[in-house]
Amino acid sequence: MQIYLPIADLPVNIFLVLAMGLTIGFISGMFGIGGGFLMTPLLIFIGISPAVAVASVTSHIAASTFTGAISYWRKRAIDLSLALMLLAAGILGTAAGVWLFAVLRAIDQLDLTIGLSYVTLLTLVGVLMIKEGVQAELRARRGQPATLRRPGSHNWVHGLPLKMRFKRSKIYVSLIPVWGIGFLIGFIGAVLGIGGGFLLVPMLIYFLRVPTATVIGTSMVMTLVTMTSATVMHAATNHLVDAVLALILMVGGVIGAQFGAHTGQRMRAERLRLLLGLLVFAVGLRFAYDLVVIPDDLYSIRVVRSQ
């Protein structure tokens, strides 16, 4: 069944989009990520313009992270004070990212920047997660219990001043890396049109040693707030949010996220991280392939002005 999208200006198969929402929703619920880095390329693939895809995906991520955040809230698995500290810097990062987005678009290097950043970030984060996941998997095979004292708990990050205690996460860390991470995620999210959950979760684990119990819930709260405000900002400035497209994606997304969350909770955290690492790495390779292989068409068109 075809439905015409009023802002994207083209008809799409409603069931195809619903299935995409379900699938990405499942993955996002399972790993506690927004899934923007998977959804945006998929929408571009079915013919929606990158600008509309990026803008509309924000509201889809808002819906699925809100679902996730509520269930994590009920389980008391959210560190609100940590989320607030991340958000404070995240908003500044978003503003900087929006500025850079406009500059890159004007000089026609946005696609390249997105491509290169995806490749770098995804392969790097993917490799790190796979390494960590494999080590944990091997430990489990040998019958060793998961290490109670996380190795390297006291790295250089813990030597920084301006420390604050986050009770829910049971950590005592400097605010400097917290703000740094918040800014970076906001910045990257705005430039790449993604929530940044797949970056935020490992960063919180590796740099701040946030325990598995609160890391996903906290990351979801941050993604929820940035993506909700990004929806409003995109709609108010670029007029590119397609509400019809977003609605179909959301309905699929929230249903998928429920099943994904249940599947995810039945799995060990280490194995979950290994799987996410593999997924992230695969998407990174896909982008690398696009950059290196000869494009189908060396020429491309961008609308500068209508009428």
Partner: protein, 260 residues
């Protein structure tokens, strides 16, 4: 039968422009619809234009065969075409040209290939077909239309063809009798909204004999129009409503699927 005054004026103007010999034919055309509504189940449309060739004066003899070229032009847009080149192993946009106020949609429909209908000089003068339509480029500070084999122009036209926005069909016009014709105008699903002009030119022996034009409008209607206008005119409210919708759906899902 009395010919309306405006039709005489139009034919006279067309005749002068074409510097054709004595005006002997006139075109009477009718479009199946002048308004194409883009609704939620819109998957493209095919419009039909019917027309006849009639003698201008009662006793003028008609020729044995005619050619017809119909050019459908959509609202203007400015588009930038970019070219990639390999730099350090990866493909980078290195060069770009802006096409200023070119048609967003361009359909050239004829009964046989343009080059068989008119010679190059005539085709260029009358902008017949994709090769001779004027596509203004900005090259540095200059504004000009490049030659038709300019790589940017060539690739621009090809990309627009692939997107089904530009097309040149040598079988788009069917002569039902030697003087009655039908033109089918295909509009793709992603057709831009706005006002379209339909320009019909009649040829015989390589010369333009007559031309006429009409117009059509592609508009969003119903729900599509409502959503589109809200997004354009009330962006902030639209954004807040979309965000609220997202949160509501997110919350609703937890209620429906609550298992504890």
């Amino acid at each position: 039968m009395r010919v309306p005054a405006f039709a005489i004026a139009m034919i006279a103007a067309a005749g002068a422009a074409a510097s054709a010999p004595a005006q002997a034919e006139k075109l009477v055309v009718s479009l199946s619809t002048h308004r194409v509504a883009v609704t939620s189940n819109f998957i493209g449309a095919e419009l039909v234009l019917f027309g006849t060739i009639e003698p201008d004066a009662p006793r003028t003899a008609l020729r044995s065969s005619y050619d017809l070229v119909t050019t459908v032009t959509g609202p203007n847009v400015t588009l930038r075409t970019r070219r990639k080149e390999r730099v350090l192993g990866i493909w980078v946009n290195v060069d770009s040209r802006e096409f200023i106020r070119v048609p967003s949609y361009l359909g050239v429909l004829s009964n046989r290939p343009i080059q068989q209908i008119a010679d190059t000089a005539t085709a260029r003068k009358l902008q017949l077909g994709l090769n001779y339509i004027i596509l203004t480029q900005r090259i540095g500070t200059d504004f000009a239309d490049a030659v038709s084999d300019d790589p940017f122009r060539l690739n621009f036209v090809n990309l627009q063809k692939e997107a089904e926005q530009y097309r040149e069909e040598a079988n788009g016009v069917t002569f039902l009798t030697p003087t009655v014709f039908r033109v089918s105008i295909p509009l793709p699903a992603n057709v831009p909204t706005g006002t379209y002009t339909v320009d019909v030119k009649l040829f015989a022996g390589g010369q333009m004999l007559s031309r006429t034009n009409t117009a059509l409008e592609v508009i969003k209607s119903g729900f599509e129009q409502y959503v589109f206008e809200a997004s354009q005119n009330h962006g902030l409210i639209y954004g807040v409503v979309t965000a609220m919708m997202a949160l509501l759906i997110g919350w609703f899902a937890t209620v429906v699927f609550r298992r504890d």
